[in-house]
Symmetry: C2
Subunit: 309 residues, 2 copies
């Protein structure tokens, strides 16, 4: 394929890491419970397409998210593919960490909230209580030599509280990182953020000692803003971008939280910008087409529609 | 509504003009032929929602685009609403101009191509021949006191030719503007462009005496890039952005040319950026919902889905 034409921008990084969240954030939001062997093939295909960093599953209680109840079985099937610092699993608490350690993974992610209401709804505790809950999780994970990511959700607005002050997001982010996390992921869980807001938050974090180099961005396309926000964040030094192959996913607890940024749409933009991702776009589109068949519905990714059509 | 949160960016303009193309570029690409009175109501609703600049229809031969065969009737129904410099109609040639003048409109747009293949397919002549054809159209329009826009299509890639050199786009743009046009609209007809390419083309045009202030951008969302490209163009001084309410439209002659940038998604971003558009988003979403009912299919705009759902 000879399109898109390549034209670099001086403000862009030479390369980014795509943090693929399809198997976890994507599949946890599907109505269908995908069979474990299909999930394992999905992860293997993603890695084969060049997505080095893949969040494979989550050790949440099955009563919360039945779609991911097979975390242990999936990791057993994946074997070596789930090991190492580039295949994190989400762990909500120490019990989840126990599962992750038993499975032999090399990286975990914790999932905090910038707002009190979402902390209550998602974690059944206050922000303060949730950070106290995370402390031993991070400590034990680090003692075991694991890489640790801290998600902060609702960074750009909350469906119950509305606007979320930037200072509040920075404060929660600072406390999550102070637990000893290696990377922060700023979540626009309901997809309302816009580029100026992204810029403002990144600058405020940098001023508090959390530079763009330690920060990932996690945008949802609910209002069509995900890629515009992503290119803005990349222009300010962010080099880790969360995306979901085929645009799968969202968050089952958040109103209107449909649709992560589609990995393919991000890869298309990076190709045009000359920003290296390591991804084979044709293989990725084939994977999304295959997964759409498994789910019985078309992929919402625009690139998948254009290239697979 | 108290979201999105407003955070301005120093590189952004204080206000933009949305050049609404839904009634023309949108409806010409629908399979259904929309009744004239529905089109008239559509235009009136758009204006009522604050979209001051609306391209209302096109005087192309009915055999080319039967969807817009009622141009004269529509303009007669619209009366004063179709007059003035902010309600252009597309005219492919002098015969089209005759129709536009007879209807009493105050503005017209001509539609050129950056590539030979698309010029042949869309206009049945070479680029050179098409510019010669446009010359008397622009001259007569200006003599009649009309405002004139020049579209240049396939600026970022061509489905038959592949890459399109920036110099070639600049050359065609320069010659179209030299005819005496007031505004240039850079069309990414197949939606393949990315932000670095946008930046490169705007810089090259500026170097040839066509500044961003005279230039509009017209992005399609075929590969999900439209809003990322738009915010990039706005950051480089572009203040006129083409968009289609509800994301209607495309180009019937171009492969994969589905989906203009949705006006609602653009308005959401501008609200967040504190960039004035004059648009009442709630009214616009109501209009898209109503038009989707007329067409018998849901709007592809993500904002419409999120707010009307």
């Amino acid at each position: 394929m000879d399109l898109p034409q390549v034209a670099s921008m001086p403000t862009m990084p030479e390369a980014i890491t795509i943090y693929e969240v399809g198997p976890r954030d994507g599949l946890q939001n599907e109505k269908a419970v995908v069979p474990t062997d299909v999930k394992a093939e999905f992860v293997r295909r993603l890695v084969d397409a060049g997505l080095e960093t893949v969040e494979t599953t989550s050790f949440v209680p099955p009563s919360w998210i039945p779609q991911l109840a097979d975390a242990s079985d999936l990791l057993a099937q994946l074997g070596e593919v789930c090991r190492g610092p580039k295949r994190p699993v989400l762990v909500p608490n120490e019990r989840g960490l126990d599962g992750a350690l038993a499975a032999g993974v090399g990286a975990v992610a914790i999932f905090g909230s910038a707002t009190e209401t979402f902390a209550r709804k998602n974690l059944n505790r206050s922000v303060e209580e949730s950070i106290r809950m995370f402390a031993p999780v991070v400590e034990r994970a680090r003692d075991a030599g694991l890489w640790v990511r801290a998600y902060v959700s609702m960074c750009f607005g909350d469906p119950w509280e509305g606007p979320v002050p930037v200072d509040q997001v920075v404060d929660v982010s600072r406390r999550m990182m102070d637990l000893g996390c290696d990377q922060l992921s700023l979540g626009d869980t309901i997809g309302v953020g816009t580029p100026g807001h992204v810029t403002e938050l990144l600058a405020a974090l940098d001023a508090q000692g959390i530079p763009a180099q330690s920060t990932a961005v996690h945008f949802h396309d609910t209002y069509g803003q995900a890629l515009a926000n992503t290119v803005t964040a990349m222009g300010h030094g962010v080099t880790v971008v969360d995306a979901s192959t085929g645009g799968l996913g969202g968050c089952p607890y958040a109103k209107s939280a449909t649709g992560n940024l589609a990995t393919e749409d991000l890869v298309w933009m990076c190709r045009g910008l000359g920003v290296e991702t390591g991804v084979d776009l044709d293989k990725l589109v084939q994977t999304s087409t295959w997964m759409a068949q498994q789910l019985g519905r078309p992929s919402p990714s625009r690139v998948v529609k254009a290239l697979a059509g």
